[in-house]
C-alpha cells in the first residue's frame, strides 16, 4: 500500500500521471500510421539506384537545378507566410471590438478559405491574365501601355499563397487575440501608454506565441505549395519549388529514392525554420492571458 503511492507521488512530481493517457490516442495514431511509413520513406532515400547510401542526397546537392529549389521555395514561402501573419495582426486588432457588420466582414475575410487551389488558380489566370479584368482596367485607365504580367511567374504563385494563406492566418490571429483579457490594455492606458504602446508592449507580447504558431502553420502550407506553383507559376523556372522536384522525381522519373530524399530535405528545411520560430516562442511568455483574479 505504501510503496505504490510513493512511486506515484514521485512520478506525479515529475509530471507523470494518468492525465498523460490523453496523449495516447494521438501518439498511437501518429506512430502506427505515420512513423512506419515515414521511416520506410526515409530508408528508401538511402537506397538510391546508384551512388551508394548517400547517392540521392549527393545528387541533390551536386545538381544545381535541384539544389536551387531550396532557395526558390524559401523565397516564395517565407515572404508569403510573413505577409499573411503580419497583415492579419492589424486587421484582427481592429476587428476585436464590437461594431456593426463585424460578422459580415469576418465572414467575408474567411471566404477565400473555401476557394480551393483550382478556383484560385483559374481565377488568377483569368483575372490577372493579359486580357483579364485587371489588365483591362489598367490599360483603359492608361496606367500601363502593355499588360502587366502577373501570372505564370513568381507573382502568380505569391498571390495564390496570399489568397489561400491569409484567411488561415487571420482566423487564427483573431481567435488568439480575442483570448487576451482586454482589461490589460485598459490598465496600460491608465499608465499612460498610447494606442501603439499598448499594442507593442502588452498585446503583442501576449499574442506572440500565437503568432509563432500561426506563422509555422502558414509557412508549412506555403512551403509545400504544389498545384499553384505548377498552375499559375513557372514550374521549370522561377517557381520550381522543392515539391515540384520531388514530384518530378517520384512521378515522372519514378526515382523514388531521389523523391524521398528531396522530401526528407524539404522536411528538414521546414524543421529548421520552424525550430527557429518555436525556439523563439519557447523564450516567450505562454501562460494564461488573464490579468489576475476573475
Amino acid at each position: 500500500m505504501s510503496a505504490r503511492p510513493a512511486l506515484r507521488h514521485r512520478l506525479a512530481e515529475r509530471g507523470v500521471d494518468r492525465q498523460l493517457l490523453l496523449l495516447l490516442p494521438a501518439a498511437l495514431f501518429v506512430v502506427t500510421l505515420f512513423i512506419y511509413p515515414f521511416l520506410y520513406g526515409v530508408g528508401l532515400s538511402f537506397q538510391p539506384t546508384r551512388g551508394g547510401m548517400l547517392g540521392a542526397y549527393r545528387e541533390f546537392f551536386t545538381d544545381a537545378y535541384l539544389r536551387d529549389t531550396i532557395l526558390t521555395t524559401l523565397r516564395l514561402s517565407l515572404p508569403a507566410a510573413l505577409l499573411n501573419v503580419l497583415a492579419s495582426v492589424p486587421i484582427a486588432y481592429r476587428m476585436r471590438g464590437r461594431f456593426r457588420g463585424k460578422r459580415l466582414v469576418t465572414t467575408l475575410l474567411v471566404v477565400p478559405i473555401t476557394l480551393g487551389t483550382v478556383l484560385t488558380a483559374q481565377g488568377l489566370l483569368n483575372f490577372l491574365g493579359p486580357t483579364g479584368w485587371f489588365n483591362r482596367t489598367l490599360l483603359s485607365a492608361g496606367l500601363v501601355d502593355a499588360p502587366v504580367r502577373l501570372t505564370n511567374n513568381f507573382w502568380g504563385v505569391f498571390f495564390s499563397l496570399v489568397i489561400t494563406g491569409f484567411p488561415f492566418a487571420f482566423l487564427l490571429v483573431l481567435s488568439y487575440l480575442s483570448g487576451i483579457d482586454p482589461s490589460l490594455e485598459r490598465a496600460a492606458a491608465t499608465l499612460g501608454a498610447g494606442r501603439w504602446q499598448r499594442f507593442r508592449r502588452i498585446t503583442l507580447p501576449l499574442l506572440a506565441p500565437g503568432l509563432a504558431t500561426t506563422f509555422c502553420l502558414t509557412f508549412v502550407l506555403a512551403f509545400s505549395v504544389f498545384p499553384s506553383a505548377v498552375l499559375v507559376g513557372d514550374p521549370s523556372g522561377t517557381t520550381r519549388v522543392m515539391s515540384i522536384a520531388a514530384y518530378d522525381a517520384a512521378y515522372v522519373r519514378y526515382d523514388y529514392p531521389l523523391a524521398s530524399a528531396v522530401a526528407v530535405l524539404m522536411g528538414l528545411v521546414e524543421l529548421l525554420v520552424i525550430a527557429a520560430v518555436l525556439g523563439w516562442r519557447a523564450l516567450l511568455y505562454t501562460g494564461t492571458t488573464a490579468g489576475g483574479k476573475g
Binding site: 537545378y65 491574365g129 521549370s236 515522372v252
Partner: protein
C-alpha cells in the same frame, strides 16, 4: 479481387459469375470509350454486372497500383492510359502481359491501322491499343492576325523573332501538343537521331534555345495556350489534330482559327491503351478480354471519332466517319478539316519517344529552356 482469388491461373473463356469492373482512366480516354464500354455492359450483364469509373492524372497511377500490389489487394481492374503510364508501368513491372497468352481472343489486333500497329508494338504484350491518332505537330493561328503563317521551322523562328511573345507552346511535360512539338522538331530539323534526345538532338536544342529568346511564357497547360490564342495574347501556338478540332467545338477557340504545318514534318503518333494490373482475378481478366474484343469492333471504334477529341480516333482499319454517331458526324462536319486526310496520308508516321528518353527530354527542356528564364 481480394487475396485468395486466382490471379495467375488459366483465364476462362467466360467469367464464372458476372463481375464488377473498376476502371481507372488516366488519359482522358473515357471521353472516347465510355460509350463502347457501357454498350458492352448493357448487352452482356452476365459478364460484367457493373462498371465503376475513376479518373486521375497519369503520374499518380504507378504509386497507387504499386501500393495495392504490395499489399496484395488490387482493386483497379483495368487502366486506360497513354504512352507515359503504359511504359512507366512496364518498367515497374505492374502490368499483366495478357496478350502473350490470349492474343487469339482479340483477333482485331491484326486489323490495326499501320500507325496503331506501330503503337501497339511499343506496348508489347502488356497493353492493348484502343484508340489512336496521328497527333501533330501542327501550328494554329487566327488568320485575321497572322495572314502569312510560317511554312517552315526557320520561318517560325523568324516570326517569333519579329513578334516576341507571339509564339507559344505549353511546358512539354504538362501538355500533349507541347511534347508533340518537342518530339517532332528533330524530324523537321533533320537531327541526327530523333529517338535520342540526349545525344542526337543537337539542332533541336539549339533551335529551342534560340526560340526561347522570343517566348515570354510557357503555360502549364495546353488549355491556356488555347485561351491565349483566343484572346489574342498569343498568335501562333503548337497543336495537334484533336486539340485543333475539339476546342473549337467546345468554343474555347474561335471557329475561324486555322492550322498550318511546317515543311517536312513527320507525324508523331499517339494512342491510348487498355492495361490490366497484375493481381486481377482470372474471372475479371476473362471479362476484360471479352470487353476489349467488343471495343475493337468497327461499330464500336467508330465512336472514337467523338467530337474530334482524338481525331480521327479509331485504331482499326476501315472505320469510316459515316459509321460514327450523328453528333460526331455533325461536329466534325462543321469543325473538321478535309485536308487532314491528305496530310495523314502524305507524311511519315513516327512513334513517340519511349518513357526513358521522354523523361530525359523533359528534364533537359526544364533545365535549359524553361529553367533558363531564371537566369534572365
Amino acid at each position: 479481387s481480394g487475396p485468395g482469388q486466382d490471379t495467375d491461373g488459366e483465364v476462362p473463356a467466360k467469367p464464372g459469375r458476372a463481375v464488377t469492373l473498376n476502371i481507372l482512366d488516366v488519359a482522358g480516354n473515357l471521353q472516347l470509350t465510355q460509350g463502347m464500354i457501357d454498350d458492352f455492359v448493357s448487352h452482356n450483364s452476365g459478364v460484367i454486372s457493373r462498371v465503376t469509373y475513376s479518373k486521375s492524372p497519369a503520374p499518380e497511377l504507378v504509386g497507387k497500383v504499386k501500393a495495392q500490389q504490395n499489399a496484395n489487394r488490387v482493386d483497379i481492374d483495368l487502366v486506360l492510359t497513354g504512352v507515359d503510364g503504359l511504359s512507366a508501368g512496364i518498367e515497374q513491372g505492374l502490368w499483366n502481359p495478357l496478350l502473350a497468352k490470349y492474343a487469339d481472343r482479340l483477333p482485331a489486333v491484326r486489323d490495326y491501322l499501320p500507325g496503331a500497329a506501330a503503337m501497339q508494338k511499343l506496348a508489347g504484350d502488356s497493353g492493348v491499343t484502343v484508340t489512336y491518332y496521328p497527333s501533330g505537330p501542327l501550328i494554329e493561328y487566327l488568320p485575321a492576325k497572322v495572314p502569312n503563317p510560317p511554312r517552315t521551322a526557320q520561318e517560325l523562328l523568324a516570326y517569333a523573332k519579329a513578334n516576341p511573345g507571339a509564339v507559344q507552346y505549353a511546358r512539354p511535360s504538362n501538355s500533349g501538343p507541347g511534347r508533340t512539338f518537342l518530339m517532332g522538331l528533330p524530324y523537321l530539323l533533320g537531327d541526327q537521331d530523333p529517338t535520342d534526345p540526349t545525344g542526337g538532338w543537337d539542332k533541336t536544342w539549339a533551335y529551342l534555345g534560340e526560340l526561347n529568346k522570343y517566348v515570354t511564357l510557357y503555360p502549364s497547360s495546353t488549355g491556356e495556350t488555347m485561351k491565349n490564342l483566343a484572346n489574342g495574347s498569343a498568335r501562333i501556338i503548337a497543336t495537334t489534330t484533336g486539340w485543333d478540332i475539339n476546342p473549337r467545338v467546345l468554343g474555347t477557340v474561335p471557329k475561324e482559327a486555322a492550322v498550318g504545318t511546317l515543311e517536312g514534318f513527320h507525324w508523331v503518333t499517339d494512342a491510348h491503351y487498355a492495361v490490366v494490373p497484375k493481381g486481377v482475378s482470372t474471372d475479371k481478366q476473362s471479362a476484360i478480354l471479352l470487353l476489349l474484343a467488343h471495343m475493337l469492333t468497327k461499330e464500336q471504334q467508330a465512336k472514337a471519332y467523338d467530337k474530334g477529341y482524338f481525331y480521327p480516333g479509331p485504331a482499326i482499319k476501315d472505320v469510316d466517319l459515316a459509321m460514327a454517331p450523328p453528333e460526331s458526324r455533325a461536329a466534325i462536319g462543321e469543325f473538321g478539316r478535309p485536308e487532314y486526310a491528305g496530310l495523314i496520308a502524305g507524311h511519315p508516321l513516327e512513334v513517340p519517344l519511349g518513357a526513358k528518353q521522354l523523361v530525359a527530354a523533359f528534364d533537359r527542356w526544364d533545365r535549359e529552356i524553361g529553367g533558363a528564364k531564371v537566369a534572365k
